[in-house]
C-alpha cells in the first residue's frame, strides 16, 4: 500500500471545481476520451498537477447526473475506449456552474479587496 495520498490533486484544486473543469473542457473540445480530458486540463491549467486518475470518478458522477454522455470509440493506440461528450443538460449545468463560480469568485475578491 502506497504512503502517498494520490486521491487528491497535488495543487489545491478547490472542492468541486474538477467537475466544472471537465464540463468546460468537453464544452470547448467536443467528445474526448478520459486521457485527453486529463491532459487538456493539465495543459490549460499550466501549474496545476492533477492525478489523472481522479477524473474517472468525476466522469462517472457527471454521467450519472446525465450531464455528459458516453460512446465507445477507438483510441490512437487502437484500443476500445469511452468518449465523453457534453449533453444538452450538461451545457445548461455548465452555464449555471460558471455563473456560480464567477459569483463566488467576485464575492471572495470583494472581501479580499476590502481587507487590503
Amino acid at each position: 500500500m502506497s504512503n502517498i495520498d494520490m486521491s487528491k490533486p497535488k495543487a489545491d484544486l478547490p472542492y468541486g471545481t474538477l467537475d466544472l473543469l471537465v464540463l468546460k473542457t468537453l464544452d470547448t473540445m467536443g467528445a474526448l476520451h478520459g486521457y485527453s480530458i486529463a491532459r487538456r486540463i493539465e495543459q490549460m491549467s499550466g501549474t496545476l498537477r492533477l492525478s489523472q486518475g481522479s477524473i474517472y470518478p468525476a466522469l462517472m458522477r457527471l454521467e450519472q447526473q446525465g450531464w455528459i454522455a458516453t460512446k465507445w470509440g477507438v483510441s490512437e493506440t487502437n484500443r476500445k475506449v469511452k468518449f465523453y461528450s457534453l449533453t444538452r443538460a450538461g451545457a445548461k449545468q455548465l452555464h449555471v456552474e460558471v455563473a456560480n463560480w464567477e459569483q463566488s469568485a467576485a464575492l471572495v475578491a470583494r472581501i479580499l479587496d476590502a481587507k487590503a
Binding site: M1, M6, Y35, S51, Y56, P57, M60, Q65, T77, K82
Partner: protein
Amino acid sequence: MTIKRRLARLFALVRANRLERELGDEVRAHLELAEHDAIARGLDPAEARRDALRQFGGIEQMKEMHRDDRSVRWIENLIKDVRYGLASLRREPVFAIIAIAVLALGIGANTAVFSIVDAVLLKPLPFPNPERIVRMWESTPTGVNSTTALNFVELRRRLHTFDAFSAEVDVNATAEIGGEPVRLQGRRVSANHFDVFGVAPMLGRTFAREEDQPGAANVLIISHAAWQQRFGGDPRILERDVRLDGIPFRIIGVMPPGALDRDRRRPRMAFVSFWKPLALTTEQLEAGSHFLNPVGRLKPGVSIADAQLDMLAARAAIADLIPQWKKDWSVTVEPFDAVLIDGTLRRSLYVALGAVVLVLLIACANLANLLLARGAARQKEIALRSALGASRGRLIAQLLTESLVLGLLGGLAGVALAAALMRAAIPLLPVAIPFTATIALDARVLVFATLVALVVSGLVGLLPALRLSSASAAAALNHGSRGSSGRHDRIRRVIVGAEVAVSLVLICGSVLLFKSLMRLQQVDTGVRAPNVVTASVDIGRDKYPTADDAIAFYARLIERVEAIPGVESASVAGDVPLEGTGGENLRTPATGDTRLLVRFKRADPGYFRTIGLDIVKGRGFTRADRVGSAYVTLINEALAKDLNATFGMTDPVGQVVDLPAIGFNSSTVRQPMQIIGIVRNERVQSDLRADVLGIAYVPIAQAPMLWTKLAVRTQLDTAAIVPSVRAALREVDDRVALADVRTVEQLRELSLSGMKEPAWLIGIFAALSALLAALGLYGVVSHSVSQQQREIGIRMALGARSGEVLSMIVRSVLTTIAAGLVIGLGGAVALTRVTQSLLFEVSALDPFAFAAAAIVMSLVGVTAAIIPAARATRVDPTTALRSE
C-alpha cells in the same frame, strides 16, 4: 444527491461486474495512451511506463472511490458476500447439507407449531367483530349449566346490551337423499342466530323473525358442506324440499363454507349439515329442563362487564319465575373465544411452542458449533483477508452474511418441511383444536418463518464471526494446520453442555406426559367387554308415533341383531359410555327439597351384559319394566355412595327415590321410583381425569325416545360385524340409518384427545433434541480427537492399550455431559409449575421420570462420544504421527 443519481446508483448494483470491467479497460487504455505520449516525448519504454503510472496516481484508491461513488456500497458488498457464501457452501456440500438440514428441522417444527398457535390463540375468530360474540351460561353452585326455554325467552325480552341473542340445540335428523337414509347433524337455532355470528347466506336467505314461532312453515338452511356433499352442489337447491325424519322442509338458504360448517364438539370429519328454526313449545316452556345454549352479539362498545350486569339485572327481574331451589343460581356472560379455547388447550399449545423453541435453540447451538469448527479450519483464509486490508467490520459482515445465507436456505427447507408436517398432522388434530381455527401455511406463518430464519442466522453466526474476526492474523498464519485453539474447544464444550441440559428438560417433560397418558389409559371406564361396537340409531316420529311403537322397534332390532352369528348380545340405550349423558335432580320422599344432581341414563335389560357391567346387588331390568309398569331405577356404586352421603341412605336397594319420568313427548313428571339394584361404575363423561359420577339408570321402555344408541358385543372382529348389523337394521326399517359407528376402543381414544397430542408432540421434540445434542457431542469429540491425534499416536506407540485411550477421551466429555445433566435437572425442576397442570396422577417432580430422563440422556451422550473416540484408537500410531 439528485433522484437521477440515486437511481443511477441503484442501477449500478445490477451492473456492478460490467462497470468494474469497463473501468479497468478505461484505466488500461489511459495508461497506454500516456505511455505512448511519453515515448513520443523521447522516454524509453520502461521510463515511459513509470511516468504514465506516476501521472495517473493510485489506481486502486481511485477505483475504490469510483466504486463508493457509483453505487450503494453496502448493498454491493452484501450481494458479493451472499455470492461468496453460496460458493463456499457449494465447496463443502456435506457441511452445507448437514447445516441446512439441522436448521430446516428447527425452523420447520417451529413454523408448524406456530401455525397452530396462530390459528388457535392469536388470530381473532373468523367472524366479523368477534369480540362482540358471547356465550351465556347459568351458573350453579357446582359449575355451569345450559338454560331453560322459559329463562331464555324471558331474559332475551329484558336485555339491552345485545344486538342479537339466540339459543341453539344440537339435533340429528335422518334425511332420505337419493333413496338412502342418511343421518345428518344439525342445529335448531333462533331466527336471528346468523346475526350473532355476522354471517350472511351464500344462496337464498336466513330465517325471518316469525319463522321460529310455533306453527311456522318448515324451513331449512343447509351448510355449504352439505350442499356440496349431500346435494352435489345442485344450483337449483333452493327449489328443493328435503324430508327430515319424514317431515318435508323447504330449503331457503345455503350458508358459505367456513367455521359455521364445522361441528363444535367432535369436529373429526363431521360437519353441520343444517339449521332449522328453534320453535319453543308450551311444554318446553313449562318443563324447566336446561337444554338451550344461548349465544349473543353485543351492541358496539358494550364490554363483557356491561353485558354481565345487564344479564344479572334481567335475571333479577325474572326471579319470580325461578323455582325456589334454584334461587342461588346465577347467570354468566363469557367471551365466545374463551369458551372455545380452554386453559388446558392454551397451556398445551404454549408448552408445545416452548418445547419447539428449545429444539430450535439446540439446532442453533449445533450449527454455531459446526461453524466454529469450520471457522477454525478457515482461520488462515480469514487472516489472509485481514492482512490484505479487510477491516474487522467488513469480515464480521462477510461471516454474518454467510450464516444469513445458511439461515435463509434452512428457512426455505424448513417451510417445505412445515408444509409436509402440517399435511400429515392436521387431520389428526381437529378433535383437540376448536372448530373456528383454520390451520394454514398463510402469510402470517411465512412472515414468522422468515423472522425465525433471520434471528437464527444472527444467533448462529454472531459468535463464530466475532471469534474468527478477532483472531490475530499473525497467530493464525503461524499456527499452521493445527487450526483450532483451546479457547474454541472450551466454547464448543459449553455449547454442547447447554444442548444436553435443554434436551434433558424436554426428555423429562415427555416422560412425565407419557406416564400421565399411561395413567389415563389405565383409567377404568367400566366397560369390561373386549369387542363392543356402538352406533346411533334414530327413528322418526312420523313412523313411530307412540311409545309402544318405539318399544316394539327396539325389541325387533335387538332380536335381529342378536340373531347375527358371532353376536353375543345387543342393547339399546340413551347414550354410549364416555360420550356424556343428561343430568337430573334426585330427591327422596323423606327428605323434602334436598336435591342430588345425578347422571340420568336410559338403558334396556341387555345394556349391562353387553358392555360388561356387573350387577353387584339386587336385580337388573327385565322386559316387564316398561311403560305402564311400576317405575324402577338401577344405580351405580358411586350413586350408592352419594345417597349415603347426602341422605344417609345406607342400604339403597328397595328404597324409593324421586326422579323425573320422561314421556315419549318429552313431558316430564316426577315419580317415585324403586331402586332395584346396584351396578358397577361406568364412566359417562369423556374427561377421564374427572371423578366417577353417580348414575341413575331407568329402563328405556319406561322412558322411550327416538334417538338411541345401539351397542353390540361380538366374538368376532368388530369391523366384520358392522355390515351384518347394518343389514339387520335395514330388515327392521329400511329408512333408518346406522350412524356414528365406533368401537369402545375408539370412544376411549377420542376421550384421550387433548391429552395424547401434547405427549406425542413433546416426545417427538425430545427425541429430536436428544438427537441434535448427540450430533453436537459427536462433533466436539471427533474434533478434539483429530486435534489430539498426535498425542494418541504417541501414547499408543508407548504401549497404551486402546481401552485406556478410549476411556481417557470419553472421560474428558463426561464432565460436559454431567454438567449438562445437572443444569437440565435444575431446569426441569424450575418448570414443574408449567408441567403439573398438564399431568394426571403424576407428580411433576416424579423421581422415576427424572431418573429415566437422566439415564437416557447419559446413554445417548456417551454413545455419541464413544463412536469417534473408538475410531481414533483404531488408527495405526505411525499414521497418526505422520499426519502432522
